[in-house]
C-alpha cells in the first residue's frame, strides 16, 4: 500500500504547532526570567542540621537593618513555628530572608510578596523581596511537617514609611 500524501500533510499540520508552541513558551520564559531579573533559590551553602542554633547567623534569629532600606531576616524554622514569626519593616524595604530548618522539611511561603522557598535541613535558603505597600503579609509553612503543620505561620508587618520621612514629604508639599 502506498502512503497517501494527504495523511503526510496532515501529520505535518499537527507536528509543526506541536513544536512551535513549546518553543514559543520557552522563549517567552527565558526573556521573562532574564529580562525581569527574577531569581530562583540557588546554592547558598550548608549548615550542619544538628547545630543550626549554634551557627551564625541562626544563633540570633531576628531582623537586622543592613543598609538604607535594606533588611535581613535571620530565620529558624522548627516544628511548628518560625523564629521570628513577626517581622516589622518600613514600606519600601528590600528584605533578604536567610532561613534554615532545625528538624524536618518546612517551607516559607509569603504569597503576597512572591516568596516561595523550601527550608531543607542542612541547606541555607536565601531569598530577597521588596515590600512596597504597608499592611500585613502573612507567611505560611507550605510543606507538611507533622501533626500541627497547619498552625505554623507568621506575618510581616509593613509599616508606613517612618514619621520623619512622612514629615519631610508633608513640608515639601
Amino acid at each position: 500500500m502506498r502512503r497517501g500524501t494527504t495523511i503526510y500533510l496532515y501529520e505535518l499540520f499537527w507536528i509543526l504547532p506541536s513544536i512551535a508552541i513549546p518553543v514559543g513558551m520557552l522563549v517567552a520564559l527565558v526573556v521573562f526570567t532574564f529580562g525581569a531579573g527574577v531569581h530562583l533559590p540557588g546554592d547558598h551553602g550548608r549548615v550542619e542540621p544538628t547545630a543550626v542554633l549554634a551557627t551564625p547567623p541562626f544563633d540570633q534569629p531576628g531582623t537586622v537593618q543592613v543598609g538604607p532600606g535594606q533588611y535581613e531576616v535571620r530565620m529558624v524554622s522548627g516544628i511548628w513555628s518560625f523564629a521570628p514569626n513577626e517581622i516589622r519593616v518600613p514600606a519600601g524595604s528590600t528584605v533578604t530572608f536567610v532561613a534554615a530548618s532545625r528538624d524536618v522539611l518546612h517551607g516559607l511561603f509569603i504569597p503576597r510578596a512572591n516568596v516561595n522557598v523550601m527550608l531543607i535541613p542542612g541547606q541555607v535558603a536565601h531569598v530577597t523581596t521588596r515590600f512596597d505597600r504597608p499592611g500585613e503579609y502573612p507567611f505560611f509553612c507550605h510543606e507538611y511537617c507533622g501533626i500541627a503543620h497547619h498552625t505554623m505561620w507568621g506575618k510581616v508587618i509593613v509599616e508606613p514609611a517612618s514619621k520623619a520621612d512622612r514629615h519631610d514629604g508633608d513640608s515639601a508639599s
Binding site: D43, G107, V115, H142
Partner: protein, 550 residues
C-alpha cells in the same frame, strides 16, 4: 498460519489481569473514600473524629489517600493492563506464567508489608515520605518490593516480546504491545532514583544501620523518579487513547508512525526534568534548574503530538458515523458507551491539566503556585482524571471481558462518568483559584488559624465537587461489583484494537530499534543529573537525624 495457531488460549493471562485489577480497585476504594473527608474538612466539616478508631489524623488519612491512589492503584492497574495488552496484541502467552504470578505475589506482599505501618499510623509521612521524617522500616521495604516487582513485569514483557520477535523477524511490532514495552522500559530507567533512595538511604537508616541521612540528596533521588512516574501513569492511558479508543469511537487511529514517535520521545525525555519539582529548593544551582525547564518544554512536544493525534482519530470516528462540520462531529461520537464517554471526558479535563502544567514548568511562574492548592487542582485533572477516569473507562469493557458478564448497567456507567467530570471540574477549579490566592496544600485548612477571608467563598466548592466525586466513585464500584457477581447476561466482547489510517508499514525502521533511543535517554540523564548528583554525594555529610512528628 491458521486462525487456531494465531489465537492461543490466553485464559491464564485473563486471570492474572483480574487479580491485579482486584487489588487496584480495592486500593482506589479506600483512597477515594478518604478524599471525601479531606474535601469536607476544607469546608469546615471535620468528620475525622468519626474515623478515630482507625484514622488518627487528617495527615494519617492524607498519607493513605496519596499512597493508595497514586502509588498502589496506578501500579497494580498498569501492571495488569499492560501485560494483558501485550499478550493480546502479540497473540502469544506471557513468556513465563510462573514468573508472572510470582511477580504479582511479590508486589502484593510488598503492598501488605507497607500497608501495616501505613494503616497503623507509623508511616504518616505522605506519599513523598521526605526524610528526615522517619517511618517504620516496613513501609520503605514494602514499597521497594513493589518497585522490584515492576522490574519483573518489565522482564516478562521483554522476554515475551523476544519470543514473539523470534517467530516474526520481519514484521513491525504491533503498536499496543510495543507501547506497553516502551512504558515499562521507560519506567525501569526512571525508577532507579527511587530505588537508590530506598536501598542506600531510607532502608539502612530506618533499620538503624546508619545514624544520619540527608534531606536534599533524598529529594533529588526521589524527584528523579517522581516526574517520570507521572508518565508511567499516563502512558497506559495514552495506549488506550491511541490503540483502543479510535475503534470504540467508530474510526481508525490517525497515524501509527506518529504514535511511535511520541512514545519514543517520552522514553528519551521523561526523566531529565525532575528539578522542575525542586525549583524552590536551595542547594541546587539555578543553571541546572533552567536546563531541566528546557527539557520539560521538550516533553510538551510528544504531549501535544498525542493530543492532536487523538483529536484527529476521534474526528475520523465522528465523521465515519455521519458527523459533519468543524465541531459537530464531536456530538456524533458514541456517547452512549460509558467506556468511550469516560475516556473522552477525561481527555477534555486533561487538556486543562496540560495548560496548567505549562504554567507549573515555567520556572518563575512556579514561585506563585509551588506547594499551593493549585498543584492539587492540577494533578486531580491529570492523574486524578486523565488517568483514573480513563482506567475506569477501560474497565467498562475489560471487566465484562474478563468475567464474561455484561456490564451490570450502562446508564449507571454514563452517570458515573459525567458526575466525575462535573465534580472534578468544580473541585479542581476551586483548588486552582485557592492556590493562586496563596492557600498552601497538604494542610488541614479547616483547623488553620490563618484562613484568609478571600478563601472562604471558594472552600465550599472543594467540598461540593469532592462529594460529587465520591458519589461517582461509589456508583462505579457498585457497577463493577454487580457486574462481577450479579450480572447474568453473557458478554460477547473482543478487545477493541484499532486499525490505523497510516499503518505501521509506514513507520521508518529506526522507530522499531531500541539501542539508539536508550543511549540517548541515558546520555540526557547523565547530562541533566550527573554533575549535581556527583557533587551532592561527594560533599554531603549524612548527619541528619530522623524525627517522628505525627
Amino acid at each position: 498460519m491458521t486462525e487456531a495457531d494465531a489465537a492461543p488460549d490466553l485464559t491464564p493471562e485473563n486471570r492474572l489481569t483480574a487479580a491485579y485489577l482486584v487489588v487496584a480497585l480495592v486500593s482506589l476504594f479506600v483512597g477515594v473514600s478518604l478524599g471525601l473527608f479531606q474535601a469536607l474538612e476544607h469546608a469546615g466539616i471535620d468528620l475525622y473524629p468519626w474515623l478515630l478508631p482507625i484514622i488518627k489524623s487528617y495527615y494519617h488519612g492524607l498519607s493513605l489517600h496519596g499512597v493508595l491512589n497514586v502509588l498502589v492503584f496506578t501500579t497494580f492497574f498498569i501492571s495488569g493492563f499492560l501485560q494483558f495488552i501485550t499478550a493480546r496484541s502479540l497473540r502469544i502467552p506471557l513468556w513465563n506464567r510462573g514468573l508472572a504470578w510470582a511477580t504479582f505475589w511479590l508486589m502484593t506482599g510488598g503492598l501488605i508489608l507497607a500497608a501495616v505501618p501505613l494503616v497503623g499510623n507509623a508511616a504518616t509521612v505522605l506519599f513523598t515520605f521526605y526524610p528526615p521524617m522517619k517511618a517504620h522500616w516496613a513501609f520503605y521495604v514494602g514499597l521497594t518490593l513493589v518497585v522490584v516487582a515492576t522490574w519483573l513485569v518489565t522482564l516478562t514483557l521483554v522476554c515475551t516480546y523476544r519470543a514473539w520477535r523470534a517467530r516474526n523477524p520481519e514484521v513491525r511490532t504491533p503498536l499496543p504491545a510495543w507501547m506497553a514495552l516502551v512504558t515499562f522500559v521507560m519506567w525501569t530507567i526512571a525508577s532507579l532514583g527511587l530505588a537508590a533512595e530506598m536501598l542506600f538511604m531510607m532502608i539502612p537508616w530506618s533499620l538503624g544501620m546508619v545514624a544520619g541521612t540527608d534531606a536534599l540528596v533524598a529529594r533529588v533521588l526521589f524527584w528523579y523518579t517522581g516526574h517520570p512516574i507521572v508518565y508511567f501513569w499516563l502512558l497506559p492511558a495514552y495506549i488506550s487513547w491511541y490503540t483502543l479508543v479510535p475503534r470504540q469511537a467508530g474510526g481508525k487511529l490517525f497515524s501509527d508512525p506518529l504514535a511511535r514517535v511520541s512514545f519514543l520521545l517520552f522514553l528519551v525525555l521523561s526523566t531529565p526534568v525532575g528539578f522542575h519539582h525542586q525549583f524552590t529548593d536551595p542547594g541546587i544551582g539555578q543553571g541546572w534548574k533552567l536546563l531541566h525547564a528546557f527539557f520539560t518544554f521538550g516533553v510538551f512536544f510528544p504531549s501535544l503530538l498525542t493530543f492532536f493525534s487523538i483529536v484527529a482519530s476521534l474526528e475520523n470516528g465522528g465523521r465515519a458515523r455521519g458527523g459533519r462540520g468543524w465541531v459537530a462531529w464531536f456530538g456524533k461520537l458514541p456517547w452512549g458507551d460509558p467506556s468511550l464517554a469516560a475516556q473522552v471526558l477525561s481527555m477534555i479535563l486533561f487538556a486543562f491539566g496540560g495548560i496548567g502544567g505549562l504554567i507549573n514548568a515555567s520556572f518563575t511562574m512556579n514561585l506563585v503556585i509551588h506547594n499551593t492548592a493549585w498543584i492539587v487542582g492540577h494533578f486531580h485533572l491529570t492523574v486524578g482524571t486523565a488517568v483514573a477516569l480513563t482506567f475506569m473507562g477501560i474497565t467498562y469493557w475489560l471487566v465484562p471481558f474478563l468475567t464474561g458478564h455484561q456490564l451490570w448497567s450502562r446508564r449507571l456507567g454514563l452517570a458515573q462518568a459525567w458526575l466525575w467530570f462535573i465534580g472534578m471540574a468544580i473541585m479542581s477549579h476551586a483548588q486552582h483559584r485557592l492556590g493562586l490566592m496563596g492557600m498552601p496544600r497538604r494542610t488541614m485548612i479547616g483547623a488553620a488559624p490563618y484562613v484568609q477571608p478571600e478563601w472562604r467563598s471558594l472552600l465550599p466548592f472543594v467540598a461540593i465537587g469532592g462529594t460529587m466525586l465520591f458519589v461517582s466513585a461509589m456508583l462505579y464500584f457498585a457497577n463493577m461489583l454487580l457486574t462481577a457477581v450479579a450480572s447474568r447476561e453473557a458478554a460477547v466482547i473482543e478487545v477493541p484494537f484499532a486499525e490505523a489510517l497510516s499503518g505501521p508499514e509506514h513507520a521508518p525502521v529506526i522507530l522499531d530499534r531500541w539501542r539508539p533511543w536508550l543511549v540517548l535517554a541515558v546520555a540526557l540523564i547523565a547530562i541533566a543529573y550527573g554533575p549535581t548528583i556527583i557533587r551532592l554525594v561527594t560533599t554531603t555529610p549524612f548527619t541528619t537525624p530522623g524525627f517522628r512528628v505525627w
